[in-house]
Symmetry: C2
Subunit: 466 residues, 2 copies
């Protein structure tokens, strides 16, 4: 009953979006996405197990077998929402005469009847939208390949860059801007350099450099954005609901940033952020349905497909909306997690095969897992650093009182660090704690970005310092 | 060595395509597609078997186990060719000023330096191209889902229509022409009707109807095209090399038709057929590599993914190029096969679980497989029809001399019919025979289309009857 009412509501929202804004249609499609995903997951679960896509939940009594890779369902539903979306968010061309053979002769932008001009996107944005969809679909395809074939780590690290090719190719022929602004203080510095070179006779006329054309480097930068976002979500994982939860928090933070621009920003930036909103709201819809099934106690696992897909949504939004730097700021918790993991990832400190927290069946709580450093001592130069970290409570060290040798340390992930700081706790509490921290850090990053950013660049897209 | 030379050749072709035509780039990418696919197939085969994607080749001694669903490799390679293609076949926008926030302010079509104007597609065709790619990628995704989960027949029949949604959605907002020409003789007839209605006072002014706007029906028509092509390739299957072989023949026939238009046709139709050429040539490249591995004696099976994908390539080309009717003509052999199968598909005649030809281990030849009609007699009204078919040598009947009852008949597929007509033969000979017939019928259909078509519509896109 509730489901039918929700469907009706979604239908009404989508229908009336033409009189208000594409954002209304986005909310409608998000509701549909939620209902469809929520319905599909329990139905397809057994089929996934049947073809061998399953895993054991190690942090539960009895280690139950759960279907793996269920995030592919959310991702596919999202994709079809993107398709059905198209007629609701773009102007229509009205073709009045054709000379046959598929030639478009007279093309007139038909504005929506009675609709205000800001309600839909201009037709020229269509190729941008389609290339984003292509990029996401390729990500899903490669994610599924990874879940099926268990591609080697060093290969799968670069997979998202491959999926980003349609995005970059269309960017190249459709937009092609590869310049970045130079921060104010560097502009002065560069001017002085230029003037110096001019005096020496190396440069004929000193020019004022306000932006630098990165050319090929800009595409490298976009590709690395596409590599970074999916992998960083994939790394902060391992307890029920964390992958989806952090994606939802990221989505909410991005929405807050967009809302800021939509209310305070200039007209020119509004379109980019409307585009971002339109992609993120339905993403939240399908993700919440997945979260319902993946949160503690999990009924399904999300799989690499979802991590890649979710990361790519943010990469695409950042790249297409030209606020990739702001987007990176929202990933600060993931970046911290990566940096904190580096000593183990690069084998400065022994890295056991699994670094998940240890589940204690008797009290049902998670305890920090530990790396045995007695048999595998860390690199000599790193021992003092470990001790400093231990002194700052950034790691839990077990030290032999007699020899002063480090016997073991807690594994270096944010998840274990939380358990070190706040003591053993149940899986759902741990997940909520991490998500809350992530949200607080994200909000702080946004505040900093709009205050400090405006000082460095001497103006912010939101306001200008006079 | 040869491979390196081919790669070099492909590179040169692609590089110099900017001075000649996109068709040259297409050939270059086709060569790359062939080499990459040919290299990948033997490498990924074992991984496919490992995750359970394999099948037994029943028409060989010892029934060897072969990897299944390898067509997904060709399809994926094709997809990435489509991505890398983009910068080589479209004009670039040159953006000189941006106001920040991802706004395109001044957009100038930059023509290729020193290149003739016909060398690349206009930028406005980009969304068409991207929606085609999206449609193909969705087809692959759904095809893989089918190969993995063995979706039920009645569900999978409609899968291609789902994959065609991006195509239809973009057609709706980007082109939106839903009118079809009315044939000449019907125009006269309709005029008379109109005049009659006018005299009766039902219609105020008699108008001359030259085209009819099908509106929603046109989208139904496109969707059914998307359902028809993939499924018809999927039905004519079962012996080594036949699925890929028939797709290659279809591609060649479509290319012949395109070449006809490119040399004789008017300027307006040339663009559509250039688009078709650009999609089909690389398709031939990846398909030929697959054919090399799938032809008798097969080392791999192609799987449903390839059949869907190949069919969708032709559906997309037909729909986007607005020559869906001509495209359907090329599918005449598949249509004949379907109609011939109808009595068994709808259970008028008993249909055994497998209708593949019977393999005789002693002489290595294929014999027509038979349906036992003694235990499962056909519907009474159909018995005379069966006898007529038998009389015309369109089926092989075994009749009880005493009672006149039909004991068994050869299974009703083109493959079995060929064996009935030409006697038992080896699998590769049978495949070649069917492909040759298909090619001859296709050529005949093209000749008929341009002769008879011009009479019915009183003009043909190729020439006009004066």
């Amino acid at each position: 009953m509730l489901r039918k009412l929700l469907f009706l509501l979604a239908g009404i929202l989508i229908y009336y979006s033409r009189y208000s804004s594409v954002v209304v249609a986005a909310v409608g499609f998000a509701i549909i996405g939620y209902i469809v995903t929520d319905n599909l997951i329990p139905r397809v679960g057994p089929s996934f197990i049947k073809i061998g896509l399953f895993g054991k939940d190690l942090s539960k009594v009895g280690k139950p077998v759960l279907p793996e890779c269920i995030g592919a369902v959310s991702a596919t539903v999202y994709l079809f929402i993107m398709f059905f979306y198209i007629p609701f968010i773009f102007y229509r061309y009205l073709v009045t005469v054709t000379s046959g053979g598929g030639q478009r002769d007279v093309a007139v932008d038909q504005w929506p009847i009675d609709g205000p001009s800001y309600s839909v996107f201009p037709h020229s944005r269509l190729s941008e939208y389609l290339s984003s969809t292509l990029c996401l679909e390729s990500t899903i395809l490669l994610g599924i390949a990874d879940d099926l074939f268990d591609i080697r780590w060093r290969h799968k690290f670069f997979l998202p860059a491959v999926a980003a090719i349609p995005l970059l190719a269309v960017y190249y022929i459709d937009f092609g801007v590869t310049s970045v602004l130079v921060p104010g203080f560097m502009q002065n510095w560069l001017s002085k350099c230029m003037f110096f070179l001019h005096e020496k006779g190396i440069v004929e006329t000193p020019i004022n450099i306000t932006s630098i054309d990165l050319k090929g480097l800009y595409y490298m930068y976009m590709a690395s954005m596409a590599i970074f976002c999916p992998n960083s979500i994939n790394i902060l994982a391992g307890i029920n609901g964390l992958e989806v939860g952090q994606s939802i928090v990221l989505g909410l933070l991005a929405l807050i940033n967009d809302t800021l621009y939509m209310t305070l920003g200039s007209e020119t930036t509004k379109n980019s952020h409307r585009f971002s909103i339109v992609l993120i709201i339905p993403f939240l819809g399908v993700s919440m349905a997945l979260f319902k099934w993946n949160k503690w106690p999990a009924k399904v696992f999300v799989g690499d497909t979802y991590c890649y897909f979710a990361g790519m949504v943010f990469a695409v939004v950042g790249i297409q909306g030209h606020f990739a730097k702001t987007m990176l700021l929202l990933f600060v918790p993931q970046i911290i997690n990566f940096i904190y993991s580096v000593p183990q990832l690069f084998n400065l400190v022994f890295c056991p095969r699994h670094r998940l927290p240890k589940f204690n069946e008797s009290d049902g709580l998670l305890y920090p897992s530990r790396a045995n450093l007695k048999e595998n001592p860390p690199k000599t130069f790193f021992i003092p650093i470990l001790k400093v970290l231990g002194f700052c409570h950034l790691i839990d060290l077990e030290i032999d009182d007699k020899t002063g040798q480090i016997i073991s340390c807690s594994n270096m992930t944010i998840i274990n660090l939380m358990l070190v700081w706040f003591g053993p706790m149940r899986e759902d509490k741990l997940c909520n704690l991490i998500l809350s921290c992530q949200f607080m850090i994200g909000i702080a990053a946004l505040v900093l970005r709009h205050c400090v950013g405006s000082i460095i660049f001497q103006h912010d897209n939101l306001w200008t310092i006079k």
